[in-house]
Point group: C2
Chain length 395, copies 2
């Protein structure tokens, strides 16, 4: 019988993590000229005047807030000490716990919960919501809960309460269910690191959460020479979006142009297995009157059968009249790639009919998308101006 | 120690194969009305007059030739009997041989050769060409030969000669190298099944290979009411292309319109591991004067590292002046998906700069493509009309 050597697995992951972190540092702050990087917490005195911990003051032509975010952990959980894990400390663990309650089943909870379950940890997944992974399409949510629920029990719809168990471990109770675990993984979301910046005191406009009020096309805060980028702004906490925000904030801070840029069509990928993917408009943002929905169930898909991963569902949304693709949600192996394809097509304003004129190789998971698109094509009014749907006349 | 139960593995594959074949039959010929399907070889008497084996004659308004192809096996190899395998009989084998020479390293030779090697067969790969998988870009060819050569010896640049070895097995000699094997897998290509149709006798124009002369946009043979589709025409023997050809031939045979349709931008995928993929214009079709080439080596790519499959190379081609994407060739894990993305973008006439404005999630193999595109972008003259390459101004 094969068994996992968990400490070796964790060390392997840590080594990879270190490689990636080193690479980022060596391409950024490591290259700053002497004196350019001041390592300190800073707070605003005025919108363009910062003070470091040692009282040093810096007057700037423009300021960019890029302070990132940190995991949300309820204060009351402090008493459980290192039995509470977050992404900050999970990757520092030298071994895996025998059992773990994952509280919060968004992207991080699902990815790490599923990984732990497959590595032999007894995982219980808990979320107050009735869905997982932020899925909004009820058909996709149902599939996802069924598929992932086979790998770890999912307790949905009730908040979790923690107490010390008699044996010193932690009893987690949610609704009428209860389990005693070694560790609790808190994946309740992240909060932006803007609470200790003295934003309000310095006259920087903030919303009810304390997050600076900014324009997502210019990244400018209010009408100040202050900009924000990345997780600090509490919107789209994704690397590629943070990159765009950094570029916009940097350009506008450096030039003072305050130029507005078009933001990306939304793309969310959860690297669960199968992937959970959301593209473009979300299900609950669609007008049922004007929207057509196509779908394909994964079980009969040839390539999925070959990969022994034939489970899931793809749902695609289009404007009923024009056939223009609006969005998609899916749980599906290789969904990450279908997400890119769909996103780029939505960005280009393509219709379902146009997509059906693209090549779909065989046997690939793109054929499952093709089947969903055929289903959708039959439901939209705009048809291709060709006697053969899949082909453009040459004349 | 884990060992493969080869007979069980073959049975598993056969079951899957049967499932897929049944599905095709039950969606096509199984549904023909009584008398619509005549099971017989047929030959042309005139372009619209066919004769079956029992002498029955059929006069048709139009004829579609869709007779498929069969593996090429040199006549001299007949003496080795069932020691010679092709795709026709490989999947009927109940066990795997201990050793096998794979002669011909195109798509089929690479896919099955690599599969056998990983299933424990002692494989020797042989091809007359100095490349494998039809790769034309010398940089990609070098990578592919190095990567796949680590899994099975590749003997390139010399034809194979077969003779009976003293122990009854087969001695395969190519150039100055020689090996004795249990089986020979012949993957020398496929020939169209048009040689026994009496095409010339019936006045149907054929080329020097005996293949009907036809127009690839109308699928019409000469100016006759005769059409051709699929492997029978000896061009692009791929399922999605055959589907297009069938649709065109069917439309034109039924309507007599002889309408011309735009054909797909080429896409070739070899399901080796890593995938070998070719998109759009081939390396040797490009004008070095007007073409820019970008590339990304896979070893440092984050996602490839995570997957422990960080080997290979992506090369992308664009028109130097306009920046319009022309083609790509790669050996790369998940290359099949990058191939679809690139193909669809080429179909839409997109430039390198436009591609860089699309979202690339993290961590995905699409980021390796992004790196190749950045490299390419620096080498083309057309730049994005925006102060930030990756973003479109909103105004």
């Amino acid at each position: 019988q094969l068994r996992l050597n968990a400490p070796e697995a964790m060390e392997y992951v840590q080594d990879l993590r270190d490689t990636f972190v080193d690479r980022v540092l060596s391409n950024s702050s490591d290259n700053f000229p002497e004196g350019m990087l001041i390592e300190s917490y800073a707070r605003f005195v005025e919108p363009t005047l910062l003070e470091t911990e040692d009282g040093h003051r810096i007057r700037a032509g423009a300021v960019i807030i890029a302070t990132g975010s940190r995991p949300v952990v309820p204060e009351a959980w402090a008493e459980f000490g290192d039995a509470i894990l977050t992404t900050d400390d999970f990757f520092e663990q030298e071994d895996l716990p025998a059992s773990c309650a994952v509280i919060g089943l968004g992207v991080i909870g699902l990815e790490l919960g599923m990984a732990m379950a497959r590595l032999g940890v007894e995982v219980t997944g808990i979320d107050m919501a009735e869905t997982i992974g932020g899925i909004r399409d009820p058909e996709v949510a149902q599939q996802a809960i069924q598929i992932i629920g086979k790998e770890m029990p999912l307790w949905l719809g009730a908040g979790a309460e923690l107490e010390r168990a008699e044996d010193g471990r932690i009893r987690v109770t949610a609704g009428d269910r209860s389990v005693v675990v070694d560790k609790v993984f808190a994946s309740l979301g992240r909060r932006p690191n803007v609470d200790r910046l003295n934003l309000e005191g310095a006259g920087i406009p903030v919303d009810e959460r304390g997050v600076p009020v900014y324009d997502r096309h210019t990244m400018q805060v209010g009408d100040l020479p202050v900009y924000i980028a990345g997780d600090a702004d509490a919107e789209r906490p994704l690397l590629h979006e943070a990159g765009d925000e950094g570029r916009i904030a940097g350009h506008n801070a450096a030039t003072g142009e305050n130029r507005a840029f078009r933001r990306k069509v939304p793309l969310n990928i959860i690297f669960s297995d199968p992937n959970i993917v959301q593209v473009g408009a979300r299900f609950d943002e669609l007008d049922p009157e004007t929207t057509a929905i196509g779908q394909m169930a994964i079980p009969p898909v040839g390539r999925a059968l070959i990969m022994a991963n034939n489970k899931g569902l793809i749902r695609v949304y289009a404007d009923k009249a024009s056939g223009r693709l609006l969005g998609a949600e899916m749980i599906c192996v290789r969904g990450e790639h279908l997400g890119h394809l769909l996103n780029w097509c939505i960005t280009k304003g393509m219709t379902v009919g146009e997509l059906l004129q693209m090549p779909f190789y065989h046997p690939v998971m793109e054929e499952a998308l093709q089947a969903a698109l055929y289903d959708l094509y039959h439901k939209v009014e705009a048809k291709n101006d060709s006697p053969i749907t899949e082909l453009q006349p040459l004349d």
